[in-house]
Symmetry: C2
Subunit: 317 residues, 2 copies
Amino acid sequence: MITVWAPVGVGEVDEGADLVALLLAALAEAGRHLQDGDVVAVTSKVVSKAEGRARASTREAELPGQTLRVVARRGPTTIVRNLLGLTMAAAGIDASNVAAGTVLLLPEDPDASARRIRTGLRERAGVNVGVVVTDTAGRAWRDGQTDLAIGAAGLTVLQSFAGQTDAHGNPLVVTAPAVADEIASAAELSQGKLGSRPFAVLSGRADLVLPPGEDGPGARTLVRPEGADLFGYGAREAVVRALAGRPGDRAPFGAPASAEELAEAISTVTGAAPRAEGGALLVTAGDLPVLRALAFAFGWTMEVESGGHAHMRPPTP
Amino acid sequence: MITVWAPVGVGEVDEGADLVALLLAALAEAGRHLQDGDVVAVTSKVVSKAEGRARASTREAELPGQTLRVVARRGPTTIVRNLLGLTMAAAGIDASNVAAGTVLLLPEDPDASARRIRTGLRERAGVNVGVVVTDTAGRAWRDGQTDLAIGAAGLTVLQSFAGQTDAHGNPLVVTAPAVADEIASAAELSQGKLGSRPFAVLSGRADLVLPPGEDGPGARTLVRPEGADLFGYGAREAVVRALAGRPGDRAPFGAPASAEELAEAISTVTGAAPRAEGGALLVTAGDLPVLRALAFAFGWTMEVESGGHAHMRPPTP
């Protein structure tokens, strides 16, 4: 049995607020106690407020400073990879449930925020709990948003079944539920979106809570590193970046492709098969700027030979 | 307070199995009852098994038949938009917790499956519950998987706050938690991945359960329609599709861009600003196949004028 409970009546959180004290007070008022093995979810909104991340500014003005790079843009929507590595609309800058005329930046280091709360609860309430700092994010292919864990401490964030087999002896192909994100989503179900329930306590998965003194890898490890996902750019942005071919835009396309992958792409576009020469590819058909864009997106280098042919090579390690 | 509970000992589910009877038996054995307003989560795995979706086959052999189109491919990973519109690795074909030598296709219509279970529970246990059919999926930018709702009945799947304001009078910008997906994630936390807990019962969000006789929009409505997301292709796939320029590959890039968006893209790639002519764009610099790829990705048409310039127009409605 899993239970999730979110105390009401926490009240407004100001800069410098002691979140541990606020949580313990809300629990005491409800006649409840934390238990070893509970997981405490805290919205990034109150973490940011307590850490002084409010700015008398607008989303538009703050966006560049929170952006590592633009992933996709369409109409009023800008999806970026932000300073935390999170791919989010408007970099996760928050303009709801904040004082009028202000916006709220995400915590500077949400894993550190989670660690401080975990330590505070250990010191002041004598309990060993996991902590997640949650935020709300859209998804690439689905409508609506879910909460996910942008910070975590004392918690297994990814539960690995790699190497285990099922009752039929098949390897477990889905090997790693992102339990920290699932906990954040369960917390949102009990917190709602009206802002008066910044905390939630989840009980029943003590197996995910690490021993005292171990903070674990943090939620940062759930973020795929730059170039490790297949969706580093939106579809249109990818086309523009490949055709523009600026060296700094290469990484989001990922690690260099295999010769087979690049050859298939060239043949799809030009209709002609490139010739393999050792580890390189000789391409005798196709528009050179087009071939250059393909080489760029697939992480290869391209030189034009005297006969006007393209010679593509994987990058030298 | 939200509670999630997953009965153990349901046992193997075979083709033709009566899932409603299995769930009610598991509840009875544990001395529990469903209440009006509960939400029942059922894994797609047992729904598929009961509905006879096992195939003596392999993922590779079944993949083409489950695929609407390929979204991205890298190494052994193929991410597709499947027949249900879901963007998933291997189309969501399941090879774990199935008999050796077989794979399991997703239910043909998981919303209909959810409706049948909801109706069955109403008829046989006299309760009005919401039902979600859950499946496990990866995410574009995060490691690990979470469970989401691929079928739903009698449930608000998206909770809209559009038009509401917070305590400070700001419009609620994040307007629609995908609560059906959050319920699926909460269910996974209580079910785990070892296959012996195909059901979960979530209590405490009766506000999301629709009145008897109303099945609601279903989980299909959480899927962004073709072209409505910005990630219809992986980054490399987008480059190949734009450069290949096949008419059938256009839709995943989305609705036609504005003249400003396309002009900015052209200028990023060519370094020269196109000239606006009415609603059209005249482009006098740049390689023609490159310009053609841009027009294609941005949903415009392109003609080459006698002087070798490109004339781009938005598609006639």
